[in-house]
């Protein structure tokens, strides 16, 4: 089985490499199709390979090259990474089905196809890396490829800046990750990840803490944890739709993988405060993410903030798992790990779906601005249905996937009272409460995110003229099916994830998680339980009731269709609908202190002659992280750069002198 998996993964890697090479053909339609077919097949192989490993529930490792400190390349796939591999495969599969209709063949697309497939390959590399060197090389390649993905439309205003922001924050994170690995390698004397995990107990406690914090922050930059999140709302609108899907479904998930890798595998059995720190950052990200999502009017910015929120939820779950682990609640640790991974997979699926559909909306209407959209359900019916499924999933409404995983996370967090240290228990429950707030706001946010563009009347001419002809449907449709399957098929998903958790934490909770036959899932024996499968069946049954009532009542009453009652006005105009901004107004008023909005109202009737005319109203949320955190840092960096600029004279001889000095210093230090 492992051999089959390894073969599948090798096939995936080869196909992606081939797709990257074939990317050059994408200047023509046939070439683009060929490259994406290769990429799609690669995705399918990766999906199969990842699933095989996860189902098998044991790690597979293979070393290539000699056992030297730097030169050896160890490839290993453990079940934890396999979950991410499977997700990578699924996303690549969906994007592959989507891309040929989304991109127009040409030089830019050719470059993009190459870079994107290399990015897939690099991501796979991160997940199968068995030693630190290979991990870091793959990680850096992934960052650079993602940077180039964001740069696809580099001529558009703001794209270069957004891509640079992504790169800058990514590299800052990378430096922290390198430091973390360097400390580990120095203390364990190996770069092999398996060996590091074995020997991690020899690392002194203080260094262990340092390594964990460095890793958490470093991967946090990539995962988009608050306050390292500011690249997401910039990079996503800049990137093409499938690039955004790749960034949001996968790249930030790799950040989570890094945190899980350090927290559960490389440094197992950490102190409780690691978990609490992780939990706190997660909960903060969730709340801040959703609050900003409610104020974003650009569909992609909105989804980017929603990604921050979702990553926050996932990281909260992982943090809680670490805390429970530290207090030796092994079953709850495993349970929350399962819940977090479930949420991660779900987020990858529906966020990819939503980004892809945003691409369709942008292609057909020419804008992503919610206040210029509306009424698309009539013009893009398939897109609307698929988006609705994704929206219901991400808003965590039953019986779809988001509901199952968020429900599991809540159930887990509310077990906080089982921890003997009351303060810790309270912190966990407070985190649960803030996730509840997040959930409520997320429903508002997605009611807005779906309702404003798809329902009502079109707010612009382009939106009124949109047509779905020739737009990609299969790729997002596949993801919509996945949303439903991951929700209704929860018992199967949980069986697989249980194996992953067993392999990662050593605890098997399948017997408690799934009651046989009934498929009811109690978070903790005697606490609560439900069955997503039965719930779906039940919902389907009660959905018939109104239809039956309608049919039963119909023969007796004569039907007369009249317009909606509107108070007798001449005609509804699109300007009589709630805009995206005003829909979120109650939230804006409630969290005024956080948003610190700036208003701008222009009235023609303020004109001294008192003539009536149009009103113009704009409003902006103050970006507090940019202003109070990053602006001072950037100022400091600039100041520092000015200070050391004289060193950079441009004189080659001077640079040779620098190298000479460094070599001398290294030789002087090395003997110690």
């Amino acid at each position: 089985m492992i051999t089959a998996a390894a073969t599948a993964l090798l096939l995936a890697a080869s196909l992606w490499l081939a797709a990257a090479a074939a990317g050059g053909l994408a200047e023509r339609a046939l070439g683009l199709r060929f490259a994406t077919v290769l990429s799609t097949l690669g995705g399918a192989s990766a999906l199969v390979g990842g699933l095989l490993v996860a189902v098998h529930g044991a790690a597979a490792a293979r070393t290539l090259g000699s056992g030297d400190l730097v030169g050896a390349v160890t490839l290993r796939v453990d079940p934890l990474a396999a979950v991410f591999v499977a997700l990578l495969g699924l996303i690549a599969l969906a994007i592959g089905l989507y891309a040929p209709r989304y991109h127009t063949p040409g030089g830019g697309t050719a470059w993009y196809t190459t870079v994107y497939n290399l990015g897939l390959l690099a991501s796979l590399g991160v997940l199968v890396a068995g030693n630190a060197t290979f991990f870091l090389v793959a990680w850096e390649s992934m960052t650079v490829c993602s940077y180039l993905v964001v740069l696809r439309n580099h001529r558009r205003r703001g794209v270069a800046r957004a891509a640079f922001l992504f790169l800058a924050l990514g590299e800052t994170g990378f430096a922290l990750i390198v430091a973390a690995f360097a400390i580990l390698a120095a203390h364990t004397g190996t770069l092999d990840l398996g060996l590091i995990a074995h020997r991690s107990s020899v690392v002194p406690a203080g260094w262990r803490d340092t390594v964990f914090v460095l890793a958490l922050l470093g991967f946090g930059f990539k995962a988009g944890l608050v306050p390292f999140h500011i690249w997401l709302p910039e990079a996503h609108p800049a990137a093409p739709a499938d690039g955004s899907a790749f960034l949001s479904g996968l790249v930030i998930a790799l950040g989570v993988y890094g945190i899980a890798l350090f927290g559960f595998q490389l440094l197992p059995q950490g102190p409780a405060w690691w978990g609490l720190l992780t939990l706190g950052l997660g909960a903060l990200s969730a709340v801040v993410g959703v609050l900003y999502a409610l104020m974003a009017n650009d569909l992609k910015r909105f989804l980017a903030y929603s990604s921050i929120e979702n990553i926050g939820i996932i990281v909260t779950a992982l943090g809680a798992a670490l805390v429970f682990g530290a207090y030796h609640h092994r079953e709850l640790e495993a349970f929350l790990l399962i819940a977090g991974l479930y949420q991660l997979v779900n987020h990858g699926v529906y966020k990819t779906l939503l980004f892809l559909e945003t691409g369709v909306v942008e292609h057909t209407t020419g804008t992503r601005e919610m206040n210029a959209l509306g009424g698309l359900v009539h013009r893009l019916p398939a897109t609307a249905v698929i988006s609705l499924i994704g929206t219901l999933g991400i808003a965590a409404l039953p019986p779809l996937n988001g509901f199952v995983s968020e429900w599991l996370i809540f159930q887990g967090l509310f077990q906080g009272f089982r921890i003997s240290n009351h303060l810790t228990g309270i912190v966990i429950v407070v985190a649960g409460a803030s996730l509840a707030l997040t959930g409520g706001l997320a429903i508002t946010a997605f009611a807005r995110g779906f309702g404003i563009p798809f329902l009502g009347m079109p707010r612009s001419r382009r939106a009124a003229e949109a047509s779905e002809r020739g737009q990609p449907i299969v790729g997002p449709g596949l993801l919509a099916a996945a949303c439903v399957a991951l929700g209704i098929g929860a018992p199967i998903v949980l069986t697989v994830l249980d194996r992953v958790a067993r392999a990662t934490t050593g605890t098997d909770i399948k017997a408690r998680l799934l009651v046989p036959n009934l498929t009811v899932i109690p978070a903790h024996t005697g606490f609560s339980g439900f069955s997503p499968t039965y719930l779906a069946a039940y919902l389907a049954c009660i959905a018939i009731v109104p239809v039956l009532i309608y049919l039963a009542g119909r023969p007796r009453a004569r039907t007369r269709t009249v317009p909606v009652w509107d108070g007798g006005i001449l005609a509804f105009t699109p300007r009589m609908q709630y805009t995206a901004t005003t829909y979120a107004n109650p939230t804006r008023v409630t969290f005024d202190a956080f948003y610190r909005p700036e208003f701008h109202v222009e009235r023609a009737s303020d004109d001294p002659a008192g003539r009536s005319g149009p009103v113009h109203y704009r409003f902006r949320v103050m970006p507090i992280f940019d202003r109070f955190l990053y602006a001072p840092v950037i100022r400091a960096v600039r100041w520092l750069a000015d200070l050391i600029r004289p060193i950079q004279s441009g004189d080659v001889n001077l640079y040779l002198l620098y190298i000479f000095v460094v070599v001398i210093v290294v030789y002087l230090i090395y003997p110690f």
Partner: protein, 164 residues
Amino acid sequence: MTEQQQVEAELHERAVALFRRSLHIRTFDSGSCAVCESEIRLLSSPYYDLHRLGFFFTPAPRHADLLLVSGVAVRAADHALRKTFDAMPEPRIVVAVGACALGSVFTEDELVHGSVDAVLPVDVYVPGCPPSPLALLHGLLVAVGRLEEKVQAFRFDLRERNPA
């Protein structure tokens, strides 16, 4: 009258009989001088209290059984009047209230129709300028068949006893 119309008329009558117990009223101002509106508002005041008779005002024509139209039927308000009427479920009653709505104050011109009949099929006419709240109550009760019409029998002959 065709058979179809006859059946519909019977149905209408049966349905209107249902209104005897309770009925919801939507008002429409189609160019009144604001006095008819004032008298209509007073119907719900303690002195007249139309709720005791099972009448209620409703802001939504969707819930209304009776449309109380006052004013001269200004052409500019046609659209709104038609929409309000269309929004009401059947069966429905239209009551024109006041001399203006009956078409006797303003003659037809480019701006006004002259009477509500020109826009809607009126069921009950309530004369008066303005019709006092009692006249309005009488009109409403006539509309739902709870009171007999008096005006048909009354000949406005000084020598006859006032039927009241």
